[in-house]
Symmetry: C2
Subunit: 111 residues, 2 copies
Amino acid sequence: MSDHLVAGLEPPYFTVVFTSLMREDPSGYGETAARMQELVEQVPGFLGYESARTPGGIGITVGYFRDEEAIAAWRRNLEHQDAQRRGRADWYERYSVHVGRVERSYGFDRG
Amino acid sequence: MSDHLVAGLEPPYFTVVFTSLMREDPSGYGETAARMQELVEQVPGFLGYESARTPGGIGITVGYFRDEEAIAAWRRNLEHQDAQRRGRADWYERYSVHVGRVERSYGFDRG
């Protein structure tokens, strides 16, 4: 899990919103999630991610990518494809993925 | 907090990703958040939202809107503007908002 916000992104860029409900006993999930974080950071054009999960509830992860090619490169990664299959077989009740092109963003920092 | 995933959205639509770190004692936040949920559901073109917060960590809320006009209507809402001011004054350490146009989405449901 990330515990910081991604800052300083300049549009245009893409958000990949992944929202999920997990099954009750997602064994093996933690190791795979850590490995996916390691791998995605090697993708050219990956800009960062943020992740939150309400205990017993919804999880939301947002990945930030410079362009469609960066997203496609991540989707082509074979270890990632394998983790997705495992997610459907074992870990998730349900999930949704929404790929959006960001033309504007803003923020606030108490500083 | 929502505890279900928004399903059945047909592109094109928009995601408004709001990621935040809260201050330690966000008094008054819960009531206002509940009121904002009530209000946003009255906005024509609002399609739903999902929200997750890691205890002690990041919160992420994703709002789904049919078009830019729906987002603009929500931004024009005076009670919403007032809540945003209160958020900056009292509740948030930091937040970011990313508005994205979704051209594709997909999902999985164990069913």
